[in-house]
Amino acid sequence: MTKTRWTDLPGKRVLLLLLSSVVMVAMIFAACGDDEEQEQQAAAEAPAEQQEQQQQVMQQEEEEVIWIDIGVVAPSSGSYEVFGHTYEASGKLVEHEINTGAQYCIDQGVCEEGGGFLIDGKLHKLRIHFRDDRSDINAHVAAVRELVRDVGIVACMCGTPHDFAIASAKVTQPAKVLHFSGSSTLEEILTEEATAPGGENRYLFQTETREWQRSGSVMKGAVDLIDPDSEVSVILMLNDATGQFLGPYFKRALEANGQTVPDIIYWDPETTDFSPLFSRAKGHDPDIVLFLYDPDRAIQAIPQALEIGAAKSGYFMFGIDPGEYKKRELQSELPVGMACVPICWGATDRQQAAEYWVRYEEFGNELRSFSSVSLLTYDDYYMLIKAYQAAGTFTDADAVVDALLDVRHDGVIADGFYFDSRHIVAHGTEVCVSRQLEFECQFTPPPDEPPPGTPGF
């Protein structure tokens, strides 16, 4: 006997189709409910009077204030969280300072007494949208695309490290969104042609100084502080996109400071035993051994170097903050140099930076090994607002870029801070040296000329 299926009946099939579609669509809507819906739900639960008051205040604010949406996409979790959290920290600090009219903002000549800032006589405030990219390039690009397409941001502090910056710039540039990236490797794509009006990267900015400037100031400071009479240095460099880019720059910078560099030893990101590499370095009988550029690995590696006795005069670690070094209580007979990106919180001679770290901590942020990276965007917010004010608009991206290139900002990192015609900032770097946990720091300005062999010169 043939069994008739109930789905064979046309009416029931249609019903099934409809039911399943409705259920799935409802599930998707439920899953994709945005913050606005959640806020509405929370608001509905609040007492009626409070709700009314809130609505009045919000209405009043909406009438008077124009909000500028800026995105921050950084890793708050995953392997890059160590420096990602600082972007959110500095972003929240700036948002608070500007929107409440903090003294620093007023001193900068940006803010009004009651908070906010004027563009063309109208009061504006910042609304910063944070997204965690989970240290995943796909999540990063998806978040940038959401902010650009759905939120309508006009600027984005996003794209570190290198791959993230390049991939997200493909989204921001066609949309004419000003894109500030802390990746120091963008120099090769930020050419005069690419950053000119109509160029491929017209709206892309590098918030770290050019590599020949940074490596120049760092290596000068390191050699001066560790041993000015040293002659031979060996570099151990992380073998990733940034490391491969940095290696030749640091070699040239050392050579410009009178050093011979017989070897750059690249180490892979998953390396944990550095003994063979330090033994290879020791074979060159170096005065200084430099370890770049991962601070967490440096903390693991330097004790191995000390045990082997790889260097005669001292060691240098890039990215380690003296504050973090002190916390770990690392002991070394030889001086250990360290540099931050760009100014250390554990020991600094620059007054503006010291005050910034106080504000940073008072705002509830924790000072950690890579907290100094927060400075790579902090000054940029103020520069951006000054550019909006000078251009009289925040919506005309080309006018804002033109104005931004004219801004000279006395900021935390440096006085007279500016972006050059290739959209790259110029500043010095602070280098410190520890002698038995006694620190000496030196802020070295960038060299005037690039060393011989620098690409593009």
């Binding site: 299926r5 109930w6 789905t7 064979d8 099939r13 099934l16 189709l17 039911l19 399943s20 579609s21 259920v23 799935m24 669509v25 998707i28 809507f29 899953a31 994709c32 409910g33 945005d34 959640q38 708050s76 979790s77 995953g78 969280e81 965690d132 989970r134 390039i137 796909n138 999540a139 690009v141 998806a142 978040a143 695309r145 959401e146 650009v148 397409r149 759905d150 290198h162 791959d163 390049i166 991939a167 493909k170 989204v171 066609p174 949309a175 490797t185 491929e200 073998n239 990733d240 996109a241 940034t242 490391g243 491969q244 880019f245 290696g247 030749p248 750059i264 892979d268």
Partner: protein, 411 residues
């Protein structure tokens, strides 16, 4: 020769396809497939978030690769970690040929697929001499080898070399137009989404044809009893390498799409961690059902995003922990994947409901024995016995498919 092949394999495959087309779905399958198709097709309309759409594009591309991986795992029981490297071969082929020869997406697509297939065959030749954990380790090593090679090709000047070193390569042009339709993802997301869906649809059909073909049965015969298969003259190694090659073909297509989605590729995008993630997606969704890899990709792609939305009050780290815990729970509780697990639950529920509603047995029923035969526990009891399995591969085959598989071995 070709006529013979067509006679023996082609006709059989086309007959299978025709049977598939005629096949009637169970109510549960009808609901799920209909809902899935409706949601996929209407996704850009019903979801306003570009972030979700971007994630759908990315994991749609991964799903294409997963069907290759699922095919390999399902048909031969070999779980490869090297598929991220094969994805990388496709992506690098697309990027290098664009930069060096100016070839666009459509020109490079078959080459990317072919090269990834060749890479898979070359890798499969030594790798498939071992099995189990050893195979996983070999493919893991192959993945790392790929990353090391692309990162360091060119030595000290690797970043100026063919692969661009650790900094990778850029593709400056979008996917070429088709009938006037542009696919520049950075200008419009929706056309690229539908492009990926079209590729995914073709992948599904090709997978089903392969599984239902005599070739698929031969693979299953080897999987179920390799010594027996060998004893009757099947060149098991040759077939396993072929399965690996076919799965590489899928990865190559996905790789080319991935390169044109990001328009920037670098070695770290294809490291062994990504390989493990791909394998995880197959395990999560399950390779026993056609829907499995797709569901695996959806879970891994969207669960963190949904947790971001609903996980208010949780820090990003806590959300990651919740995500990890959920994945572990699925793998432990549903070892054959989510889709198979749900199907099993459906079967159990259906039987329980049936026995609850059924009137108590009378004395003539012989002391409680059911008058009707027990349904098999896979929840597919109303599937006609002559239907081919709806599976990428393992274990889900119907009695007939298994019988056929054994016949291949014994003929």
């Amino acid at each position: 020769m070709i006529a013979d092949l067509w006679e023996s394999h082609g006709r059989s495959a086309s007959r299978r396809l025709a049977r598939l087309a005629r096949r009637e779905l169970t109510p549960a399958q009808t609901i799920i497939w209909t809902a899935l198709v409706v949601v996929i097709v209407l996704f850009p309309t019903i979801v306003s978030s570009s972030r979700f759409l971007d994630v759908a594009v990315t994991y749609g591309i991964f799903a294409i690769c997963l069907y290759g991986l699922g095919f390999l795992y399902g048909q031969t029981n070999y779980l490869s970690i090297a598929h991220s490297a094969l994805l990388g071969v496709g992506a690098y082929t697309a990027a290098i040929l664009f930069i060096q020869a100016g070839l666009g997406f459509w020109a490079v697509l078959p080459l990317a697929a072919l090269l990834a297939m060749v890479a898979a065959l070359l890798l499969g030749y030594p790798a498939l001499r071992v099995s189990g954990y050893h195979f996983v380790i070999v493919t893991f090593a192959a993945c790392e080898l790929f990353v090391l090679a692309t990162r360091n090709l060119g030595g000290a000047e690797a970043r100026k070399g063919l692969t661009g070193g650790a900094q990778g390569l850029d593709i400056t042009e979008p996917v070429g137009q088709v009938f006037g339709q542009s696919f520049d993802i950075n200008l419009e997301l929706e056309p690229f989404y539908y492009l990926v869906i079209a590729f995914l649809f073709v992948t599904l059909i090709v997978t089903q044809i392969l599984v239902a073909s005599p070739l698929g049965r031969t693979f299953r015969a080897i999987r179920e009893n390799e010594p027996l298969a060998r004893s009757v003259g099947i060149r098991a190694n040759w077939y396993k390498i072929l399965a690996f090659g076919i799965s590489g073909l899928f990865a190559g297509v996905a790789g080319a799409l991935f390169a044109y989605k990001l328009r920037h590729i670098a070695p770290d995008l294809f490291n062994s961690f990504e390989g493990v993630e791909l394998a995880l997606m197959v395990l999560l969704g399950g390779s026993r059902r056609l829907m499995g890899p797709l569901v695996g990709a959806i879970i891994v792609g969207f669960l963190p995003e949904i947790l971001d939305v609903i996980g208010i009050g949780l820090t990003p780290f806590q959300r990651q922990i919740v995500f990890g815990a959920l994945l572990i729970a699925v793998i432990i509780l549903l070892p054959h994947g989510l889709v198979q697990g749900v199907a099993d639950l459906y079967g159990v529920g259906k039987r329980s409901l049936g026995s609850y509603l059924r009137p108590p047995p009378g004395p003539e029923d012989g002391g409680g024995a059911s008058a009707e035969p027990e349904e098999p526990p896979d929840g597919e009891s109303d599937q006609p016995a002559d239907e081919p399995a709806e599976a990428v591969g393992t274990g889900e085959e119907t009695a007939e498919a298994d019988q056929e598989a054994e016949q291949v071995g014994s003929s």
